[in-house]
Symmetry: C2
């Protein structure tokens, strides 16, 4: 079933120990869409400027992503420049030019209204909330956020969390949002704010999903998916959004939503994240095949499963 993603489309200037890339198509909605497109139909709502050409749009269209929700505004597309130092775990931002993204007001095309799955990319929590309220018929909504919103728009974010079924954030964000340094206690505190499940992404150590008692199944046992040890992480940009795309894409491709489906989805999230970082920008996500995805899913199983 279709997923609607609302988020950013951007042009990125990225430098890592493996090299650099300039003016590469990026943004949370781009990475999410490409990743999810291997599992199900994807519809995108975002804003771009006059520098976004038909060739850029073709990158999405080739993956059969519905781009009718991309608004073309006067001015330049969101631009971001950053460097990853040795550890690759954190980017040092060189510049951020919001441009047309600054006044982004997501408009959902009529044709998108029947989307059963919704992913709210990392935008202002009030915008996330208004999109969610407009999409009343969705079966499942997940979303992302970041330190900036946790600190600056805390109250709005807490309101938005009541509307989200599954929140996907990283360790630092979970601890900051909960005001709690212990991961399990932080997770439980975030769950008490509304979401039925919380995915905490641990970068190269994988991800853990925490459930509210009884959500999507029995009990509240957490579940952990690995990440793949990779000998050269070329560019970590978009790994989290690609993870979210694989996670939501797999869920949307299944008849039922239950614990087992969500656990597998967590593995597929890791799989798509592992592809994303193998090349710069979205290059790898444009060209991966479903067979490669399944083969890597098997590697993820071998990585963690006892015989």
């Amino acid at each position: 079933m279709s997923i609607l993603v609302v988020g950013s489309v951007a042009f990125d200037w990225i430098a890592t120990p493996s090299g650099k890339v300039e003016n590469a198509l990026g943004g949370s909605a781009t990475y999410f869409s490409l990743s999810a497109s291997y599992f199900t139909d994807v519809r995108i709502v975002a804003v771009v400027g006059e520098d976004f050409t038909p060739e850029h749009e073709n990158i999405l269209k080739k993956r059969k992503i519905d781009t009718r929700g991309i608004e073309h505004a006067k001015g330049k597309t969101f631009r971001w420049g950053g460097q990853y130092l040795e550890s690759l775990n954190e980017a040092k931002t060189d510049f951020t030019e919001l441009n047309v993204f600054e006044s982004f007001n997501p408009r959902i095309p009529k044709e998108y209204q029947d989307s059963k799955f919704l992913f709210l990319g990392n935008i202002h929590p009030s915008l996330q909330a208004s999109v969610r309220k407009e999409m009343n018929g969705t079966r499942l909504t997940s979303g992302d956020t970041m330190n900036f919103w946790i600190q600056r728009t805390h109250d709005e974010l807490v309101e938005t969390l009541k509307l989200i079924n599954i929140l996907l954030i990283n360790d630092g964000e979970a601890k900051m949002l909960a005001g709690e340094n212990n991961l399990l206690r932080a997770a439980n505190k975030v769950l008490s704010l509304g979401p039925q499940a919380l995915v905490i992404k641990h970068g190269e150590y994988g991800a853990t999903i925490f459930f509210r008692e009884g959500a999507f199944g029995i009990g509240s046992h957490p579940f952990r998916a690995p990440a793949l040890p990779i000998d050269e992480v070329k560019d970590p940009t978009g790994a989290g959004d690609s993870f979210a795309g694989g996670f939501m894409g797999y869920i949307a491709s299944q008849e039922e939503i239950n614990r087992e489906v969500i656990k597998r989805a967590l593995f597929y999230g890791g799989v798509m994240g592992s592809f994303a970082v193998e090349k710069f920008g979205t290059e790898r996500l444009q060209s991966v095949t479903r067979d490669e995805i399944e083969a890597r899913f098997q590697i993820f199983c071998e990585l963690t499963h006892l015989g």
Copy 2:
């Protein structure tokens, strides 16, 4: 089959956000022995001072640990004091008094010579090597080391690594030893120095074992075991040695040493590490039961296994 452990016995002064403890029996050999004792017979070689009383020895004897290899020297036992700050990932050392440990020269009792498994705790690599050479009949030797030895006795450590089948260290140590920031490349570099397998411990994110091509089985696929999200880590001291004790103890309890046994051992390592941190010092490791261990092993499986 019996495991011989050579390492430190210490008294610890520990403060964590959950409280503090003074003069608690600790040291690498203590944590390792207690943990491994739930799986197989354990023999300990260490040195203590006059402050080590029969009551202290009884903590080990109650777990049927063979303490004949504990040398009683004039002076005080090794003392360490440290604090864990909010993150609990790293200790800030308040004081280290080596005392009798400073001139520790491990002597292996005749009765220990037939030990089939050997664990070389975190001591000077030249001492590790000389113990290993004395124990020619062992089936499997594993060992630990730390930043101090990697930096100060690099050449001796490299020689010792040729004598060790499985090295157990943490992320930072692996990266430092390899001079390499990428975990997979660091692992491969360490494996090229001698060990057939390398366990890299990731703290609250679990541990990964990397194999040399063909070691203990087919191929060289790594394997990852989780750690259990715990809502209150009371005291992380000894978690790594408890992990090593569970890992080696399980292997020593099995007829054959193969990949599947080693994978399970990695899970048991995580299980024992998770018990160790639940209470201060060795308290929890003194009182856990085999049933509790098996129940937690099941939880570790549920935490990572797809249905």
